[in-house]
């Protein structure tokens, strides 16, 4: 019985101490997560900022108070700003900034909240953009000639013009500035449209002319090729016929050489056969064969 009472007492003591410890811990411990910083104020005056993640301590309320700040990177998109380039062309530019709280103490003292930070950044950004773009031609940001393009350099110049001020004045670290939009004022777009229209017409005419020329080239090349093929064929044909005529002539000549007189005679008979038709009138001497048979040997 006595043991049970002792155990009960111990349990009560442990539970009570744990509860007291938990209360003390929650009043004094600061758990700083990754991507966070905590600003400790003593009677309202900022005394230190802890940005390393882990367990930190403070005096209990109402002496010390903790303000948590988000150190995540944030995106701020500036407004559309119309500006003049060095070659006196109006251009509308919108940039965006990737920023984070770099110095929590300076940030809390100079700005206090995130919304105000963006207001400050906007001013910095607009001034820097106007100043920087005024030193470059429009072709430095849009051009088909890679040598003209200087976008990386301009973005670096914008960063150089804003980052140090943002760091020292507001505790803000600007990590990236890039052009999100490059546009033309409304009145200039009209001229661009006219120019685009003229270009299109020119292209249409060019395509038509090129098509015509190409088709004509293909046709004439084909005709030339066909003529060449036909000529080669004709040449080959003439060669074959010539060769054949020579061979035939040789065969007949060989035959002729054996007995020229008989050859001439048989050829003459052949010719006679070919020449005499049903339209032919033959005139023969009476002493020629076969009429000569009707004559006496004496009369002959």
């Amino acid at each position: 019985m006595a043991d049970e009472v002792t155990a009960q007492r111990w349990l009560r003591a442990i539970t009570g101490s744990a509860a007291l410890l938990a209360i003390a811990f929650s009043a004094t411990a600061l758990v700083v997560h990754e991507g966070q910083a905590v600003l400790v104020t003593r009677f309202g005056r900022p005394v230190r900022a802890d940005s390393a993640p882990g367990l930190h301590w403070k005096l209990p309320w109402p002496i010390d108070q903790a303000i948590w700040l988000d150190l995540r990177r944030r995106v701020y998109e500036g407004g559309h700003t119309e500006m003049l380039t060095r070659d006196k062309k109006n251009v509308i530019v919108r940039t965006f900034v990737v920023w984070r709280v770099g110095d929590p103490l300076a940030f809390a003292q100079s700005i206090g909240s995130e919304g105000d930070a963006e207001g400050k950044l906007d001013g910095l950004l607009t001034n820097a953009a106007i100043g920087t773009l005024g030193e470059h031609d429009l072709s430095a940001i849009v051009s088909t000639n890679p040598e003209d393009l200087q976008v990386d350099r301009i973005e670096q110049e914008l960063l150089a013009a804003t980052a140090p001020v943002a760091r020292s004045s507001y505790g803000v670290e600007i990590e990236q500035i890039r052009f999100e939009r490059i546009a033309l004022p409304e009145e200039n777009v009209r001229a661009v449209f006219d120019q685009m229209r003229a270009e299109r017409r020119q292209y249409a005419a060019k395509f038509r002319a090129e098509g015509e020329r190409e088709a004509s080239r293909i046709r004439s090349e084909a005709e030339l090729e066909a003529a060449r093929i036909r000529a080669t064929g004709a040449e080959q044909e003439a060669r074959i016929r010539g060769q054949s005529a020579a061979e035939v002539a040789k065969v007949y000549a060989d035959a002729h050489r054996i007995d020229p007189e008989l050859y001439r005679f048989t050829r003459s008979l052949d010719s006679l056969d070919k020449l005499v038709t049903d339209q032919t009138t033959l005139i023969l001497r009476t002493d020629a064969e076969p009429f000569s048979l009707l004559q006496t040997r004496e009369t002959r």
Binding site: V142, R178, A226
Partner: protein
């Protein structure tokens, strides 16, 4: 004898509270023990197959290198809050985000001869032409620690980085290149630049792909662009017609040339065969002739004349000429009633009278 001290005023006042607490303790201490156990086990977390997890101990990431920080799918034994905090991230899931800030919005369709840059999205090409472009970005989380603790909001950073990359990439290409065969290059360049930007912003995101949803000139110029397209198609048609003509005329010429050559070969073969045949016949005749020339000659002559007499329309006989007059038989060829031209008849050598032969 010891005298019990009288209870203090405080103890006397607290006695009812102590009795209530004591009673509550007696009734709930096992339940409290169970709750304590449950609390101790509350850090055990199940990581699903498409997730990975990182553990924060007192807010600090556990592990030094990325490999030791990340826990794969399965059971993860962590301490209860506030000591440990388990952050689970879906790293295999591919998210999609349509980005249409550089295209016409349905609320502000662009008609007319100009565009208000504040209302209508567009980008300038390198040759200062205007195009509307809209894309769909597919992405996933690559670095869970950066994404969860240090990176900007995914949708925001993706939209601005892709827009910037698109503006930059379009700004170095000509409109014709962009609208025809340059789309692939445009997407490749924009993807590369957007990923560089996402990495520089520690977004922890990987761009899986950029897909062009729309890329077109302003509506006001659509007809002009269509006219160029028509001209291009027309030109291609002409070219293809010419190619078809070429593909017809060249083989036809080949066929005609081949046919002529074949005919010539056939004619040559026929002429050769005829010559050989006639020569063979002549040789056979000659063999006979050499044995008995007069008879053979006489027979040939008679055969020839008879055949000619049979064929001829008419035969006229004339008395033999005197010695001084022509001794030749002349074969007169009557004009062709069909009007066809005939070759002039060659003079036929006079047949030698077989009787005059020796």
């Amino acid at each position: 004898m010891t005298r019990r001290r009288a209870p203090s005023e405080l103890a006397r006042l607290g006695a009812p509270l102590a009795r209530v607490l004591d009673g509550a303790w007696r009734r709930t201490h096992w339940w409290l023990a169970l709750l304590a156990l449950l609390y101790a086990a509350s850090g055990i977390t199940v990581i699903r197959p498409d997730e990975i997890a990182v553990v924060l101990r007192w807010g600090r990431l556990v592990g030094d290198a990325a490999g030791t920080q990340i826990h794969g799918p399965g059971l993860l034994f962590a301490l209860p809050r506030p000591v440990d905090q388990v952050v689970r991230v879906k790293t295999k899931y591919v998210w999609e985000l349509p980005i249409e800030s550089l295209s016409e919005s349905p609320q502000h369709p662009a008609y007319g001869d100009t565009l208000d840059p504040l209302l209508v999205g567009y980008a300038l090409t390198g040759d200062q032409n205007v195009v509307h472009v809209s894309v769909k970005a597919s992405y996933r989380v690559r670095d869970p620690a950066d994404w969860a603790f240090y990176g900007p909001k995914s949708d925001e950073i993706l939209r601005v980085e892709v827009d910037a990359a698109m503006v930059r990439s379009l700004g170095e290409m000509g409109v014709d290149h962009v609208l025809s065969d340059g789309r692939k290059l445009l997407i490749a360049e924009a993807t590369r630049r957007a990923q560089e930007g996402l990495d520089a912003a520690h977004s922890g995101l990987a761009l899986v792909s950029l897909e062009l949803i729309g890329l077109r000139p302003p509506s006001a110029l659509a007809d002009d662009f269509d006219a160029v397209q028509s001209a291009f198609i027309e030109s291609e048609t002409k070219r293809k017609n010419a190619q078809a003509y070429a593909q017809d005329v060249v083989p036809r010429a080949h066929a005609s040339a081949d046919a002529a050559v074949q005919v010539a070969r056939a004619d040559a073969a026929a002429a050769g065969a005829l010559a050989n045949g006639e020569t063979s016949a002549f040789l056979a005749l000659h063999r006979e002739y050499s044995h008995n020339p007069a008879v053979v000659r006489e027979r040939l002559y008679r055969d020839g004349v008879e055949k000619a007499l049979g064929l001829a329309q008419a035969v006229r006989w004339i008395p033999p000429a005197s010695k001084s007059q022509g001794q030749h038989i002349r074969v007169m060829v009557a004009p062709d009633p069909a009007g066809g031209r005939r070759p002039p008849s060659p003079p036929v050598p006079p047949p030698q009278n077989p009787e005059e032969d020796p």
